[in-house]
Symmetry: C2
Subunit: 151 residues, 2 copies
């Protein structure tokens, strides 16, 4: 992971937030939706790559993952780049680019770089995801989504 | 503005951040790029609706706006919904949906709802935008961007 905005020794909050991102990735790779949703605030607002424009609440997010999870490759890893994390008091946010990699190189899910921005709040002593925004840009001339990074 | 997460009396930080969002909108409506860029951190990272995947730094953002500004309608307002703002210490983030409205109802820029997530840090006593992510979702069956909210 490129931790561009982190010092060599992360603070306790930074370490907790990095662990939360790692746990999310492990849960996704294990296709364990209960575990994936562990660290979301009940009233989280998510903007996803695909419609609808937003999802409100963990129940809507669970339903989305139940639909999406079967479309994921059997085995994959997550590659990140340009990772940034900012934290102060009870609020933090992170942003980075990521993609799925693995042996099924022609799998549709393997063709896409994505941008993610995440908002966190510490609620009852625990960091929770209160906002998540994942997207790819689109070419305004064609209206089509662009999956590959510029050269 | 729907300030769903704000109490009736915003804190000083909340008021400063709301003023910053208002100032951004006024600058955009005035097509004043210098003013628009006033509150961005020099090393801001932006994910825009269209390629490239990310822009790094205010110079890249200025160049983008110089290209885009002529494509905007002559006169427009900004409609927002589902506004949320979280702030603690030196870090804050906001997210909401927005669109441009105005008399040129057939203008391409008037057809699109967008999602925005913004990361702020207080640097040298001043709140600055250190991250901005604007997107529309795309239909995975067609690969095409979706501009209108679901019913």
């Amino acid at each position: 992971m490129t931790t561009a905005t982190l010092q060599e020794a992360p603070s306790r909050d930074e370490a907790e937030l990095l662990a939360l991102i790692d746990a999310w990735e492990e849960a996704l790779r294990a296709k364990d939706i209960d575990r994936l949703l562990t660290n979301y605030a009940p009233n989280v607002v998510t903007y996803d790559v695909k419609p609808p424009y937003q999802l409100q609440g963990v129940a809507a997010l669970r339903s989305m993952w139940q639909t999406c999870m079967p479309c994921f490759p059997q085995e994959f890893a997550i590659e990140k780049r340009d990772f940034h994390l900012a934290v102060s008091g009870e609020v933090a946010f992170a942003h980075y680019l990521f993609r799925f990699t693995g042996p099924e190189k022609d799998h549709p899910a393997m063709q896409t770089w994505m941008r993610v921005s995440i908002g966190y709040q510490r609620i009852g002593g625990q960091w929770q995801i209160v906002h998540e925004h994942v997207s790819v840009p689109f070419d305004p001339m064609t209206g089509q989504a662009v999956f590959t990074l510029d050269p």
